[in-house]
Amino acid sequence: MAAYETIAFDAARCTGCGDCMSACAQEKTGGFDHAASRIQILPAANDGFELALCRQCGDPGCVSVCPAAALEKDAASGVVRWDETKCIDCLLCTVGCVYAGIAYDERTGRVAKCDLCGGDPACVKACGEGALRHVKSAQIYNRYGELEDLFVPGLAGCQGCNTELLIRHVLRAVGPETVVAAPPGCIPGMGTVGYNGKTGTKVPVFHPLLTNTASMLAGVRRTYKRKGRDVTALALAGDGGTADVGFQSLSGAAERGEEILYVCVDNEGYMNTGMQRSGCTPYGAWTSTTPVGERSHGKTQEAKNLPLLMVMHRCAYVATASTAFMEDLYDKLARAIEASKRGFAYLHIYSPCTSGWRFPSQANIEVARKAVETGFVVLWDYTPDAGLRFTRPIDDLRAVDEYLEAVGKYRHLDAAQVAHIQAQLEKDLGLLKELAVRGAQAEARALA
């Protein structure tokens, strides 16, 4: 079974300009009559706009009620196809659909519905506001879904944790020729290194100390290389084991250019031991060691910027990533795997923690997305040749409140603290922009 592409609608960005409907009408009928458009933008009660559009359902109601077998879910593309030569114009499909996704067109006397324009929807191209997006992340599933899941079914993560998703995706992408190092933290706690003598991964895994992950892994990689085997040396470590306790061995391995893929899963604290602060805990955040009370109002220091520290080690590859942007994450994984065959590759993945950050378990991906959309987390990557480049635009960021409000560990913040955070974000962004400009210049020079 395949996963499918879809059109996503962001009501907050829609201005109701109608360009999408003009484009659709033009594409499908050659005219500009909005009534002929398969996509319908409607005024909503709150002065905003809403959408009526075929969802290309997985279990389409219109298909179930068609007496003429004129509608069919295309297994390859996912599009619900309408066969005009079989259609008897009975309109029962408009009864079967509760989303107004297939509707009667008075001009033709027949029904009409969206067919995703064969994979290149005209409405999305016409939307200048970013309210319509053609979401193709299903391609990830189609590409990697066939590969073996190298993690056993069932693990002991907290409800809603995105790290299971992360581990399974990362292991699929690196493949079976891998040795995993998982130092103390949530990842082994979830079952990666296993219980009762059984490991949770289907590849060799070991459990180094918090302090020596990178150096042990460097030895493993060198040994295999000496024996003539190309094995990916993969660290799956938390931010405490990376930024604080394990930093000395990490820094050494990076400086020596050890051929390692080091993935830091950053949940901004020591979450599995009782939610203590780490060097990656942001300013203002509640943790069990930066409590909130009469005098204390969360952490008083800034988080260290670990990925930038790794840039300063001149690693073969450094990148930040988020599970809310999986296509970006996969792209970076591929680059990091390739870089780890010739030097140190470092991937810093932000991992909102449902238990320790105090937000509902279903909101993990939403929190991760808001972090990026507000610039709290910035997605970029770096190579020594091309320098630093943003992999997601940073010129249209939302106010940081939107992110802070979604996370319980910031609930106590006063206006001054929020302003402090916003100001610090802008400072950090300024630094990144400067580096990105230098990166662009370096790239231009390299091309010239």
Partner: protein, 416 residues
């Protein structure tokens, strides 16, 4: 004797949807799909279009050739269910086959109702319920010069339109005072009859036939009022009745159809019923009614299948809502819900010249019915508004002026 975990009797929408629901939860359990038909699964709803030639009888199958193999289903066609022993969980078919089932779905649909008319056995007449009926009627249509359609329901009206296109002189005889009773009110029905009358069709409402006698090249009908109508093609389209003859002595409670609860369970254990054969909860009118329309068959089939397979996602049937979509002479008529309820308010909009019509029925500020001719709306969205009991008071004026767009905006906010 055959044995199966699931026995589905019938091969149209209810049975096929039940099968899909079973396979969502139970990928392996043995399924036997048994049907009286010899043709691959098709929908009775498509038959008028086979008669008109719009549908090719070879292209109406609802499932592809490899369907049985892909779904791991054994198909037995050409033999109707003859009797049932619910204690022994045994079904007997007309060809003598016995099937022992663990769970049984009755989706045997309906059979044309034949009114008691003196002399009817001595003349040839057509009905329209199977693909064979449709092919026969299509052939007869070409030869007919004067046709009589008994019954002004959907089947009768569709057939009559085909006859008009074939330039056959046609008379429609309907017992009720209007055509399409139960779907449209008198006003809408008269707009529809008008379209037929304009094209030379006689529409006789409030009339019934007392006797029929053969003539040299056809038949002559005698109406209750004394009038005689002659013709050479007689189509009986006086409604359908649930096919339940095989249930005599089976211990399954029946009314007009097979009585079912909100999970489509009959009174007998391990027996479910869905579709045109079932008499299920009615959403607006209360009580249990036979509501033989395609969307209800699909919904009931799905609930029955989920319940049969023990799917924990199964939900109770919310109740049937009368729904219809009807195309005539390039125009379209839609009906959702009921056109009157105690204490309801009714808003009618008519444009006689353009032949456009719309009626909205509200009860306690909620939608109870909406009907239109050539003023389109999204029927599925309206049904959902009815079933959800959405309070329309805050948007009442907008809804009455532009029900389609107002309902779409509500849909987008409430359940999209």
């Amino acid at each position: 004797m055959l044995e199966t975990r699931y026995l589905l009797v019938g091969s149209s929408h209810a049975a096929l949807e039940a099968l899909a629901a079973i396979r969502m939860h139970d990928a392996e359990g043995s399924v036997l799909l048994a049907t009286r038909d010899t043709a691959p699964p098709y929908s009775p709803t498509v038959l008028p279009y086979v008669v008109s030639g719009k549908s090719d009888p070879n292209r109406v199958r609802l499932r592809s050739d490899d369907f049985c193999e892909a779904q791991k289903v054994t198909l037995r066609s050409g033999s109707a269910l003859a009797s049932l022993d619910t204690a022994a969980q045994m079904a007997r078919f007309a060809d003598g086959t016995e099937v022992r089932y663990e769970r049984l779905l009755l989706a045997t649909g309906a059979t044309p109702a034949i009114p008691k008319i003196a002399g009817l056995t001595r003349v040839q007449y057509h009905v329209l319920r199977t693909l064979d009926d449709a092919v026969r009627l299509r052939e007869a249509l070409g030869r007919a010069r004067r046709a009589v359609v008994l019954g002004g329901g959907l089947v009768g009206m569709h057939a009559a339109e085909n006859l008009v296109h074939a330039r056959t002189e046609t008379t429609i005889i309907e017992m009720q005072p209007q055509v399409l009773p139960g779907y449209f009110d008198a006003q809408a029905a008269s707009l529809i009859s008008g379209a037929f009358a304009e094209r030379g069709t006689r529409v006789l409402c409030g009339q019934s036939v007392v006797s029929v006698a053969p003539r040299e090249s056809g038949f002559a009908l005698k109406l209750l009022g004394g009038e005689r109508v002659e013709g050479d093609l007689l189509l009986i389209a006086a409604g359908v009745r649930p096919t339940i003859g095989y249930l005599s002595g089976a211990g399954v409670a029946t009314g007009d159809g097979v009585l079912v609860d909100r999970r489509m369970r009959t009174s007998a254990s391990n027996v479910w019923a869905a579709g045109d054969v079932a008499q299920a909860e009615s959403f607006l009118q209360g009580g249990r009614r036979v509501n033989g329309i395609l969307p209800n068959a699909v919904e009931q089939g799905r609930i029955a299948g989920m319940d049969m397979a023990g799917d924990p996602g199964a939900r109770d049937y919310r109740g049937g809502v009368p729904i219809n979509t009807y195309h005539f002479f390039g125009r379209q008529a839609l009906s959702v819900g009921v056109d009157s309820l105690e204490g309801c308010e009714t808003h009618v909009q008519v444009d006689e010249a353009a032949g456009r019509y719309r009626k909205i029925v509200l009860k306690d500020g909620r939608l109870a019915g909406i009907f239109s001719i050539d003023l389109p709306f999204d029927a599925g969205v309206m049904v959902e508004l009815v079933l959800r009991g959405t309070d329309l008071a805050p948007v009442k004026q907008a809804f009455l002026e532009n029900p389609r767009d107002t309902a779409r905006a509500l849909m987008s906010r409430l359940w999209r």
